[in-house]
Chain length 448, copies 2
């Protein structure tokens, strides 16, 4: 059997590439050894957001009285982990079936098994042999294992979280990035004692320092222990020894930085310094006609960028030429409140010597935020001082992860603060904070 | 005392004009006979959305079990009208004080009393006399009184709703527009028997027929009685007689179409056919230097357009010339799910002979909607067939009223479906439905 495209890995990079390939008429197969949808659908983006949603609603219900609802008493309600996990699994399952359906609908062959790349456009799937004009590797990544010195600790990775029967009292989350903060807050929201250990020098690297500072304060306010730039030394008698402290630890959740899952190959790939598969600007690896997209390329660890890689590469294979240069991709953190960023950070603007303006507007002055009981947060807009082009937007708000899309919209068409201010925003909506930030950049916000 | 500008009425037209006037250095006074913020802040947009928020949360909490929350039993919880009303009043009060604060901060004099317009740039405020280079009338509107034949019914207007001590069982809402549907659903959400009487031929006039048809079905599904194009004949023994039916009616909420509140004036104004104050394209009335903005001009009954009028007129007075042509203003309905529209309807595109394309994407195929438990709804995008310009967007979604802002953003800069599709949307977010609708317009949605 000869395919135009064989894709290895059915996560958001691979399956989106496969659907797109089917849509544009390429004879396509996708190889997956575990679940359709990959990490994102099965133990990453989707199920973690699902359990966070339960935790957020649980937390909001405790304040139902403020909305005039009688009959709810904090001591009577509880979060049922079995049910929370069950709901999350049902959602993953439904979306995963949806992916299978879409692949089949678009004529993509689904091959279950472990792929190995041979020479001359050959892919082995277990003991089957298929040939492909183009091979796309989308095998993703996994967290680096925890330090050997604490190998005896009760460590789990996200994948295993959804098999846990009970969540114990004292949780340590290790990791430097958004998912670590999200998980730390999840455990806190459901009433656990939580410590977040961010061992590298790059806590929340990529976010604006203003946001990092906000998040650090948020973590402290919520009484989540935060230990920065320190590695745990050892684990003994249920305690983690770290930087002179002893922390009770019944469960250590590994949200560490990630490393590539590189498929076996008869022809070796060139790798990057950090051991991801090295690719050209078109995502082609050192082997001709073999591409790598998503996490395994080390070019991004965001599902939406992985999908964008996938669409780009299929277009490229089909001869639709363009340049992949996603400067304006949102970064979302699904905490409570949510935190989002798109575009340049202040540090990046400084580094490029750009003359910029910061305009801000607080949610506490927004009517709809008050109505929803969600007044914590702000919008912060970075714009070019001379021409007013919007260069970066940061939002902290209950619904920031969706709200950031408006910023992406303006930025994708090189919109200016004048455009933002002149766009009529409905009243009362939280989105009015955009208009206010726009006015603030030009002259003065109305409600500030 | 001579002012540059005297504004009559402190609703969203008047108070925003006043703040803007203060900001640009005009000596300004605002006259208000009742509450700062006008109808919008005191018994319109804000308090109605506040009580709807309580009702929506009440309704969501009933399904808390689905999110894995134990200990909530539908028969144990209830909505406490006193508390709901109280919360709504606190929010209005806080925003109303905020308006006073902003007015003072921007050097605006607040005059309490009823204004009467004299000849030669004079305004009387009760027994005070002030002169103004420019007068702006922003006195708003009120619902038309119900038909005389049912004058004996227990009729209240929204203003009085917030003084009601108890909400009775059988509610009739009269009105043809969004606020009538919102109120009908509010009463239904809190467990009342509700009938909506839309007596005119123009039920939800201005919305796309696709949305009107959706809303009509929604009303029926929710078991809200719906009587279209019929006037009640009489009220007798607690029942409303209408179109051959008898409807129990303990309370009739008047959300009828609105008529202008025209201030007393020594010099008569020219009026429109429908008895609003007639204005030029610059909002100037038939009297030189006297402007009318917001509802009283009959040019819009939306708070955000009223505010836009206000900013425009102040800029105009300051000599900042532009054309007021807000084609792309959102129309929001805060039901559950919310319903929003911006730009042209299909009917309007047909009438202008435009060749258009409709692209759609359902929320049921969106991961985040599934996570939030809000899969009811869709996005519907109307675009120019040849160039792909986005001409209109309609959204039904739990958070449609905020989500519509992204459509406004694209449309305010003449964005195309290509721009929409190429804008990277974060995963998982509900806003991904924009990207899908964009792809759907060009070729094929990924997840459809």
């Amino acid at each position: 059997m000869e395919y135009d495209v064989v894709i290895i890995g059915a996560g958001p990079a691979g399956y989106v590439a496969a659907i797109r390939a089917g849509q544009v008429g390429l004879k396509t197969a996708i190889v997956e050894k575990m679940y359709m949808g990959g990490m994102c659908l099965n133990w990453g983006c989707i199920p973690t957001k699902a359990i966070l949603e339960s935790a957020k609603i649980f937390s909001k219900i405790k304040h139902a009285d403020e909305f005039g609802i009688d009959g709810i008493f904090e001591h009577n309600i509880s979060l049922n982990w079995e049910k929370v996990k069950g709901r999350s699994k049902r959602i993953s399952g439904r979306l995963s079936s949806g992916v299978s359906y879409l692949l089949k609908k678009n004529g993509v062959d689904i091959l279950t098994g472990t792929a190995k790349i041979g020479a001359d456009h050959i892919v082995f799937v277990d003991d089957k042999k298929i040939s492909a004009k183009h091979i796309i590797i989308a095998t993703g990544s996994k967290p680096k294992v925890s330090d050997k010195s604490i190998a005896n600790a009760p460590i789990i990775e996200m994948e295993k979280l959804f098999s846990l029967e009970k969540i114990p009292e004292n949780i340590v989350v290790t990791g430097n990035h958004i998912s670590a903060v999200e998980m730390a807050q999840f455990f806190k929201l459901i009433g656990k004692k939580v410590t977040l250990v961010a061992n590298s020098d790059y806590f929340l690297d990529g976010l604006d320092e203003f946001l990092i500072s906000y998040i650090t304060k948020m973590i402290e306010t919520e009484k989540i222990g935060l230990i920065l730039k320190t590695y745990p030394e050892k684990f003994e008698n249920g305690e983690l020894f770290i930087g002179g402290k002893k922390i009770k630890c019944d469960l250590l959740v590994n949200c560490n930085s990630r490393k590539a899952i590189i498929p076996e190959s008869e022809v070796p790939f060139e790798l990057t310094e950090r051991n991801f598969i090295k690719t050209s600007e078109n995502f082609e690896t050192s082997i001709k006609d073999v591409y790598a997209i998503g996490d395994v390329s080390g070019k991004s660890f965001l599902a939406h960028l992985a999908s964008a890689h996938g669409i780009y590469v299929i277009n490229h294979i089909k001869g639709i030429k363009s340049v992949f240069d996603p400067q304006n991709y949102p970064i979302n953190m699904y905490t409570s409140p949510e935190i989002s960023q798109v575009g340049m950070t202040e540090k990046e603007m400084k580094a490029e010597g750009l003359d910029y303006k910061i305009s801000e507007f607080p949610l506490s002055a927004n009517g709809k935020a008050l109505i929803e009981g969600n007044t914590e947060g702000f919008i912060r807009m970075l714009s070019d001082k001379k021409y007013g082009q919007v260069m970066g937007v940061q939002i902290v708000a209950a619904n920031a992860t969706d709200m950031i899309a408006e910023a992406s919209a303006f930025m994708s068409v090189d919109g200016t603060v004048y455009d933002v201010a002149q766009t009529i925003h409905a009243h009362p909506t939280v989105s009015e904070i955009y208009m206010e930030a726009g006015f603030d950049a030009i002259d003065k916000a109305i409600h500030k």
